[in-house]
Assembly symmetry: C2
Homo-oligomer: 506 residues x 2
Amino acid sequence: MAITVCFSVFLLVNILQLNALPAFEYNQTSTVIVPKSIGQPWPMPAKYSSNSDLYSINSENFKFIPTGESCDVLYQAFVRYRRILFGRDQEVLKFKPHGKHSKAGSFDILYVNQLNRCDTYPSLNSDESYTLSANASGLHLQANSVWGALRGLETFSEIVYQLDDGTFVINGTAISDVPRFKHRGLLLDTSRHYLSLKTIKDNLDAMAQVKYNVFHWHIVDDQSFPYQSSMFPTMSQEGAFDQRHIYSQSDIKSIIEYARLRGIRVIPEFDSPDKYIHLGGDEVSFSCEIFYRKSNPDITKFMAGKTNKQKKKKKWGFASNYSRLGEYYSRSILLDIISDLKKGYIIWQEVIDNGATVSIGSADTVVEVWKSGYPAELEKITKLGYQTILSSCWYLNYIKYGSDWLPYYMCDPHNFNGTAKQKELVVGGEACMWGEYVDDTNLMSRTWPRASVVAERLWSAVDSISDTAGVQNRLEEHRCRMVKRGFPAESINGPGFCRDEFVPHE
Amino acid sequence: MAITVCFSVFLLVNILQLNALPAFEYNQTSTVIVPKSIGQPWPMPAKYSSNSDLYSINSENFKFIPTGESCDVLYQAFVRYRRILFGRDQEVLKFKPHGKHSKAGSFDILYVNQLNRCDTYPSLNSDESYTLSANASGLHLQANSVWGALRGLETFSEIVYQLDDGTFVINGTAISDVPRFKHRGLLLDTSRHYLSLKTIKDNLDAMAQVKYNVFHWHIVDDQSFPYQSSMFPTMSQEGAFDQRHIYSQSDIKSIIEYARLRGIRVIPEFDSPDKYIHLGGDEVSFSCEIFYRKSNPDITKFMAGKTNKQKKKKKWGFASNYSRLGEYYSRSILLDIISDLKKGYIIWQEVIDNGATVSIGSADTVVEVWKSGYPAELEKITKLGYQTILSSCWYLNYIKYGSDWLPYYMCDPHNFNGTAKQKELVVGGEACMWGEYVDDTNLMSRTWPRASVVAERLWSAVDSISDTAGVQNRLEEHRCRMVKRGFPAESINGPGFCRDEFVPHE
C-alpha cells in the first residue's frame, strides 16, 4: 500500500434496506437514464422524417451559402452556428450511427435560401417557418423570412452529430417546420435579484436553442428599480439595490441587439396598480416608462423627495415633474394612448377580470392568463374576443424535489372549451422564472432544461409529441446538447450522465 | 428617441392583485433582505466578543508569522488565506464600519503560535481549538494543533473587512473557539451522477470555509462504479457510466491531499447488502475495496464474466478471484477484520436495528442515524454504548420552493432523551447531498450556502446561536462572502443582493 497513513480511519458500511421506507426516508430505487436519442431535434419539427442514409459533413471546409436574400442577422448566424457545430470547444456529441446506415455521400455546404428581404426586428406575426432537407442533392434550408432561416439553422445544428471516429454526419432528412404558437416567451425577473448581462445573454442563447421568440423582462418592481432612465436617472440612483445593480441605456441596447440577432423580441414590463406611464420620451431602448408607483410607499416618498437619504443629501425628487404627468391618470386613457401610438400591449388577466374599460380595438391586445383555473379564464377571455397567452401552469420558479417536467409538458394552451375561432385567439404562452430565489448563482441551472419543455409545447404540433417515452429520450439528448454548448442545464430525470459533462468554471 | 424601431411592440401592464390568492398562485409579498452583518464569522465561535476599536490591516505587506511549530499544511494555508483576504479577485467585502469606532492602530502581521508538532492527517480526535485576538498588542492566533490553526485562520479571514475607501480593518476581537462536535461531515454521491475533480475540490474549499472536517464520499453504488481500482481495473471499465466518468488512483490521491491541507478527512463508502470486502491490498488511497455486489445482477453477471459486452469481447470476469474471497463472507467476520486492522468504521443504523453481531469493542465504531424518528434511535444507539452521528434531518438533496434552511438549523443532535454520558456518545453529524438530481451543473449552488447551516449547528455552542434574527443576518453576510470567494452559493432568504455578486463563467 503506497500510502497507508494518508487516509481515513473510517470505513463506511452501508447495508441499506430499501423496502417499506416511510415517505420522508430515502428511496434510492431510481434507475439510470442512458441516452437513447441521437441527432434528434428539440423542439420536434411539425413534420420530420429521417432515414438510414448517412451523409458525412466536411467540418474543415464547411460553408453556409445564401442563395436568396441576406443580411447581418443571417451572416452572424452563420458564424455562430459554425462555432456551435464544429468549434473546438463546441463539438457536437460523438456517437455510433443509430440503426443500420449506408454511407451515402459527403457535403460541405448548406444552401440557405431566404426568400424575402430581412426584417430588422422580429414581431408577433413574423413568419418562422422553414424547410430543411438532407438528401442526394445536398443540404438545403429554405425560409420565407430571416427568422425562419434562424430556426432552420438551429435545427440543422441539432441533427448533425459526430461518430466515434470523429466524422460529422447527418442522416437523410426531410423537415417542414412551422411553430404552433407565435408568442413563445420566457419571463426573467431582475427586480427581486439582479441578473448580470452575461446571465441574460446566456439565457437568450439557451432560448434560441429551443426557439423561444420573446424575452419578457420583468425589469423593475417594488423590490428594486435597476432600470437607469436617461430622463430620470435618480429613479435607479434611489431605487436600485446599489449602483452596481443597474442596467444602463447601453446595457439595455446590447441586450436588445443580442436578442434581435437570435430572432427574440424583448418585452419590458413596468408594473404597479394604478400606474402612471409616460409613453414616448427619449429613452434609447424602452418606449415607455413608469413615473409613479402608488403601491410602494418608498418610491412615493422618493418621488416626492422625502426619503431620509434625499433629505440628508438635499436631493430633489420628481415633484416638479408631476405636472407633466397630470394628463395620464387613468388606465383607460393609458391604453388609448398606447393604441394611438400603434404600440401593442400585453395586460395581465386582472384588467379583464375587473371589467376595466379596455380599448380592445387593436389587433395587438394580448391578455396574459397566469392564475389557476386557467381553462375557464381562457374560455372567457377568448369569448370576449381578446388574444391571449398562458403562463399559469409554467411558473418554473416553483421547484420541488425530483423530476417535475412532465406536468409542464402536458399543460396545453388549447385545453379549454371553446370554438375553433376562440382557440385561434390563443397566440402562445410564457414560462416564468420569478426572481425571489434565483440570481447569477443558479438562474441558468434552475431554468434549463426545464424551460425547454414549455418551448416544445409551444412550438411543436400536438400529434408530433405524443410519444412520451420518445420525448424523454429526446429531452435527455437535448439536455446533454445544452451542457455540451456550455449551459449548466441540470439533470431532471434521475441518475445518468452526459458523454460530455458540464465543465465548471476554473 | 434614438432607437425607435429596435424595440418590442408590446408593453406589459401588470396590475397584479396580491390579496386572497389561492395557494398555487403567485405571492410576491416577499421583502428585501439587506445585509446587516459586517465582519461576523460563520460558524459562530464558542466565545466571541468584539469592540469598537478599529485596527487597519496593511494588505500590501501583510505577513503570517509562525511563532511555534510549523509545517507544509500551515505554510500552504498562509498562501491560501493571503489570497482569500487580499487577492485582487478575492477581496473581502467593502463596508462602512458598523457602529461607532475609534481608529486604534495598524497591523501587518498575524502571529500564529501552533504549539505541537503537526499531524500529517486529521483524525476523529484532532484538537481543533484555537484562540484569536486583535487588540493593542497585535494580532495573535494560538492553537494546540495545526488543524486548530487552520480553523483560526479561516475565522481571521472572515472578521477582516474592507471600508469604502479600500482600507482593510478588523475590530478589537477576542475569540476562544472549540467545536461542539468532532465529526462534522458532508456526503457527496458520485454514483448517481459523476462529479468532476474541480467540483469536488470547490466543495472542499467551501467545506473548509464553514469548518467541516469530514468528506463522506459515496463514491460507488448500483448506478455506477467510477472508482478505478488498481487491482481490478475491469470493475470501473464495466461499471462506470463510461471511461470519462472515472476516478483514477491519482485523481483520488489529489482529492485526499486537497482535503488534508484543509483539515478534512475523506471517508469513502463502498456499500451493498451482504457484501464481500477486501481489506488491505495495494490500492494507493483506499484501504478497502468491494469485490462483489449481490444486490446488482449486472455486477454479479459482470464478475462472472457473463455480460453481453464481455461475451462479445471475450473478456474475463472475476470468477478466478472468487476463491480469494471465500473467507470474507459474513458481516460479522468483516467487522472483526476491520477491528483487527485497527481501522475505525461507520455503519448505517440498520446494522444495529437488525441486531447484527457487531463487534463494538472498538472505540472507533460510529453508527450513522439517517432514518426518521431519529430521537428514539439516538436514544437506543447510545444506550447500547455506541458512538453515533446524525444525518436524518439534513438531507439537503430534498429541495422545495422557498427558504428552507431554518428546519435544518433547528435540528439538534442532542434532541433526545438520554443521560449526559449518552449525549457524549453523539460525536457529530452529516449533511447529505445525494446525487439523483445533482451534477456539475448545479451541485455547488444547491449545496451552498444550505450546508453551512448544518456546519454551524455542528460547530457552535448552542447558547451562542440562539438569536435567530442575528443568525439570518450573519447567514446573509456568509452567503455573500461565499459568492465573493467565487462559489455560486444561491440566494436562500428571498429578494436581495450581494455587494459583489457571483461572476458567471465567461
